[in-house]
């Protein structure tokens, strides 16, 4: 098997995640889709790391994870406070700049 297939898989996952972002209204699920896209990127980095024979790709994937973790923390906090004010987790309900 050609390791390039990992890349194809990553592309597929990324696209699925992107479509998810576009069609789902629940902020939490949208967020999960973003995580899916990030993971797809990570897979790419790891696959490239293997192809090029150095660890830089893995390092970047590692940093991505850290950033993703931070992002999740803040993002979920935003969702929670959004839910508190609007009693809804729908991204469509947050279409106005003010309440």
């Amino acid at each position: 098997m050609n390791p390039v297939n990992y890349l194809y898989l990553a592309a597929l996952l990324f696209t699925i995640g992107a479509i998810g972002v576009l069609i789902r209204r629940n902020a939490i699920i949208v967020f999960m889709c973003i995580e899916l896209m990030l993971n797809a990127c990570n897979l790419t980095f790891v696959a490239f790391s293997r192809m090029h024979g150095n660890l830089d790709g893995q390092i970047i994937a590692f940093f991505t994870m850290v950033v993703a973790a931070a992002e999740v923390v803040v993002g979920l906090a935003i969702i929670v406070s959004l839910f508190r004010t609007r009693h809804s987790a729908s991204v469509d309900d947050a279409s106005l700049m003010k309440l």
Partner: protein, 633 residues
Amino acid sequence: MNTENLIALLVAAPLLGAAVLLCGGRALDRVGHLLGTLLAAVSFVIAVVLFSDLVGKSPHDRTLTQHLFSWVPVEGFQADVSFQLDQLSMTFVLLITGVGTLIHMYSIGYMEHDERRRRFFGYLNLFLAAMLLLVLADNYLLLYVGWEGVGLASYLLIGFWQHKPSAATAAKKAFLVNRVGDMGLSIAIMIMFSTFGTFAFKPVFDSVGDTSQGKLTAIGLTLLLAACGKSAQVPLQSWLGDAMEGPTPVSALIHAATMVTAGVYLIVRSGVIFNGAPDAQLATAVVGAVTLMFGAIVGCAKDDIKKALAGSTMSQIGYMVLAAGLGPVGYVFAIMHLVTHGFFKAGLFLGAGSVMHGMNDEVDMRRYGALRKYMPITFATFTLAYLAIIGFPGLSGFFSKDKIIEAAFAKGGTEGWILGITAVVGAAVTAFYMTRIMLMTFFGEKRWVPDEQGNEPHPHEAPSSMTIPMLVLAVGSVFAGGIFSLGDRFLKWLEPVTGHTEGHSPISTGAITGATVACMLIGMGVAWVMYGRRDVPALAPRGSLLTRAARRDLLQDDFNHVVLVRGGEHLTRSLVYVDHTLVDGVVNGTAASVGGLSGRLRKLQNGYVRSYAVSMFGGAAVIIAATLLMRAV
């Protein structure tokens, strides 16, 4: 002291009067009329001094010039404020200042009870100054200044009683019609400038021979247009009748001494140009002939004494223009008739003013009658002027009008016959309408009625400040023509300026004179049959179609109203609409469509994050596609 330097004073004296009277406050109210009259008289005295100086010189050396300053010096364009006094100007100056001064005097009495008398005299002075500037200018542009100045002064005077809407409208009409004429004068000046490079009299006249007849005809016709406006010739005559809205001395001034004579002056002054343009000359003669009949017919039908006299003026000016259109044969006689007309027409108007003065400002002749007993002096002077205007043998009008008729026949050919017969018939009609005025005003039963306030008129003779000018003018009406004709004095006086050729009419002079006198007597007789023998009805009978048309100025006003006024109103209204909807609409439409487009685009900004995400994602896809394509290429 050099007499040339006096020329400017001629203009300056009344101009100063106008400035002082119009700018000075109420403090001058009590002496304003005296000051105005005095300055007019000063001008007259200067004119007499200059006249005696001119008479003392040899006939071909009788031209004085005075250069004041350079007015508009622009590269290739030189307009100066400088004056030229020759025999032609001198004649006019004497007439203007002389008759003008008399009218000033008359106005002292006539306007006694008007609270704005000071301003009236200011305007009168302005009128004199403008008219003097007109006849003294040595170039067409300065003449134009006087020309428009006369228009302004007439505007102010005709509309003097501004609180009357009819007066304001008449004033506006006079100015506007005159402006159409002015258009002709300015085009004439422009053609002169582009042809000769100058518009001063002397160089233009000197180089007339170097240019084509077409150019001269163009100049002549445009000058004729100008003259038509100022002298109330068909087709620009409509303002004259309405101009009677002004106080009566104004009518006298406009009709006798100033304004309407300006057109004749212009044509005679430009005689050299007209001589080189026979077509323009013929047009001038035709305009004169048409107007003389037009005015006479209108004069027959009017019941308003001033409007009847206005028709008469139109007709008499028609004679002058006809004469001027005949070329060197007629120039002198045009001016001679102008001067005699100045006397008797002023006399007639002042007489009419005197009548109105005694009759509570009533102007309808059907409300007069039998006034000869109440106003003997007015009756006497009016009668003399009347005999003069109808050309009664021996009085002024006889000499001058007769010469014009002779000259018209002398034109020769069919034109000569047509013009001559028109002039003769005109004399008959003149006799008719003037006799009609006399009979209706001074003879018959008294027909006056109380005015709207119930005041019974008490006809009385006017004060001496009014009667003295009338007497002086009456003397002039009687003797001027005779004195001028005696030994062809007037002819010899003017000939160096205008030139003169003796006309040879196909029929003998005596026959013409006889025919004219006969026609005059017929006219008088018909009038006597219609108005002397029978009682004059207090209400005008319906009359024939021609009478009714003549009462309405031969429908010319109606034509103007329908075509120009109505048409103009529609034009401006539709243009205002076009400006608002089309010109502005295109701009506003552009703005609206941009706004509409923004409105559409705004809908894309719906606030939904997911919508934005789609666009972002789509954008990313496009960028990738572009990158791939770039690599592929």
